[in-house]
């Protein structure tokens, strides 16, 4: 494979080379430099393997020169190298090929044959600057450090902990809390609200009342952008989540929109709505009171999930920094106020029956 010889050809070759063989940025730069020098020597094309080999040799040359110079400096009880260390290194490396005055044992280093050859080369060769501007590397990334107690303004828990140490992480990150189910439902709620917003935007002619405030919508969108969990709407049943709650108010409006906006809606949204259709129909069949906006729970999918939500109790499990979620949690708590009681009573009755059924069996086994 021969290079075109021009800059563009070299760049495209470089791009492919980077994927296959170039692990390092400096190696790629060395390749470019070597190619430029060979071009000035008269070559019009390179074999890829030959170019790689030569650049590898050049890198090793530099490293060997540095190592030798450093060794000579250390031998002279110094840590910093000076010009004479380099000249000695050059002489060592050029000893194979030979230079004028190599056999002299007591010549001054300043007048070494290697230096004279380099001077000659500099005076003869034309100056070819490197083709690209090389940034200062390696680039050290700025790591975001955890703030200290002092920076947060917290009191460290305990006298033995000084306040300049980094603060402890939030307890939600390591304490198991039963609020995770709520979080999942909040996610679903956010996705649903985002979906509805998108649908609203899709079907322009429809006059549908906005079920969420524009502030919430903006926040939901922002949350969707920042939070990867909200980026793509999940299909019904894709994620193992506790029962899907569909407030009747939303479901009614969604159904209206679905019927009217089917032509306009995006295929994705329609399909998600279709998956929600059985749930929506169930909701419609049930009578729902919408005086205070209290909604019923759809409790057919996962009866085993037992959650207890009390009115007025704020959820503290929001580790995510989304303010709108708190608002929705309050809404949810107001929804599931007293409508749950009947379902709970039914479930409790079923449980008691089951237990009573089990007990005689166990007794029989014993």
């Amino acid at each position: 494979m021969s290079d075109g010889g021009g800059e563009s050809g070299r760049e495209s070759d470089r791009a492919t080379k980077r994927k296959s063989s170039d692990r390092d940025f400096p190696q790629a730069i060395a390749k470019i430099a070597v190619a430029q020098i060979c071009e000035s020597a008269g070559f019009q094309g390179f074999q890829q393997s030959a170019l790689e080999t030569l650049s590898e040799v050049v890198v090793r040359y530099i490293r060997e020169l540095g190592k030798t110079a450093h060794t000579y400096a250390n031998s002279a009880c110094r840590t910093e190298c000076n010009i004479f260390d380099i000249i000695q290194g050059l002489e060592d490396l050029a000893s194979l090929q030979g230079f004028s005055g190599a056999s002299d044992s007591d010549h001054c280093l300043a007048g070494s044959g290697t230096v004279r050859e380099i001077v000659q080369y500099v005076s003869e060769a034309e100056e070819i600057p490197f083709a690209h501007s090389v940034p200062h590397f390696p680039v050290i990334r700025d790591r975001k450090q955890t703030p200290s107690f002092l920076q947060i303004g917290e009191e460290p828990p305990g006298d033995h902990i000084p306040d300049w140490l980094p603060a402890f992480p939030d307890p939600q990150t390591y304490v198991h809390s039963p609020v995770t189910l709520e979080q999942a439902r909040q996610h679903k709620k956010a996705e649903w609200s985002l979906l509805n917003l998108q649908q609203q935007l899709a079907c322009n002619g429809l006059e549908g009342p906005s079920m969420i405030d524009p502030g919430d919508a903006a926040k939901a969108r922002r949350a969707a952008e920042t939070n990867p969990f909200l980026s793509a709407p999940l299909h019904f049943g894709e994620k193992g989540v506790s029962p899907v709650f569909l407030p009747a108010k939303l479901s009614n409006e969604a159904v209206v929109e679905n019927q009217a906006g089917e032509n306009h809606a995006v295929a994705n949204h329609v399909s998600v709505l279709e998956t929600f259709a059985p749930a929506i129909e169930l909701m419609k069949s049930r009578s729902c009171e919408s005086e205070e906006g209290r909604k019923k729970v759809l409790s057919n999918q996962r009866p085993a999930v037992q959650f207890k939500i009390e009115i007025g109790k704020k959820s503290t499990g929001t580790a995510l920094d989304l303010s709108f979620q708190n608002k929705d949690v309050e809404k949810i708590t107001s929804w599931f106020g007293k409508d749950n009681e009947k379902d709970d009573k039914k479930r409790r009755a079923e449980k008691i029956l089951k237990e009573s059924m089990k007990n005689p069996q166990e007794l029989a086994q014993l």
Binding site: I37, G45, Q47, A50, V57, V59, K67, H70, P135
Partner: protein, 136 residues
């Protein structure tokens, strides 16, 4: 005494020549960028804040590469002249000078670097097989 003075003068000349050369190095921009040379020298433990020394290393490396390249070019031209004598028709095509592994390995052998290149790459199942028996 005279010899010492003569020796001292010579040393001074050498020193001054060297310092002049180092000063002139700052005007000359070597093809190998300073950052690259600094990076690899730092990897091998070389420590020096002086930029002129880094330039010296860069220029020395450039000279080394130029020598190797010129040797390889001579090899390439020698091979081309041998080929051209046989077939005059291919003169147009062979004008392109390409750095091949063969020429490079010969040139590097003089510098003490032994580079052996692969004769062929077995990157497909039909490599090395007879053209007749290949399934294609």
């Amino acid at each position: 005494m005279n010899q010492n003075q003569g020796g001292n003068d010579a040393r001074h000349d050498d020193d001054s020549a060297l310092s002049d050369f180092l000063a002139s190095l700052m005007d000359y921009t070597p093809t190998i960028p300073d950052e690259l040379v600094e990076h690899y020298l730092a990897k091998s433990g070389f420590q020096c804040p002086d930029v002129r020394l880094i330039r010296l290393v860069a220029v020395a490396t450039q000279k080394f590469v130029a020598e190797v390249a010129s040797d390889a070019l001579q090899q390439c031209k020698a091979r081309q002249s041998a080929v051209v004598k046989d077939k005059r028709d291919k003169q147009q095509k062979d004008k392109r000078l390409i750095l091949t592994m063969e020429d490079l390995s010969k040139a590097l052998r003089e510098c003490g670097v032994n580079v052996k290149h692969q004769e062929y790459f077995a990157d497909s199942p039909s490599t090395g097989m007879d053209p007749a028996s290949r399934d294609e």
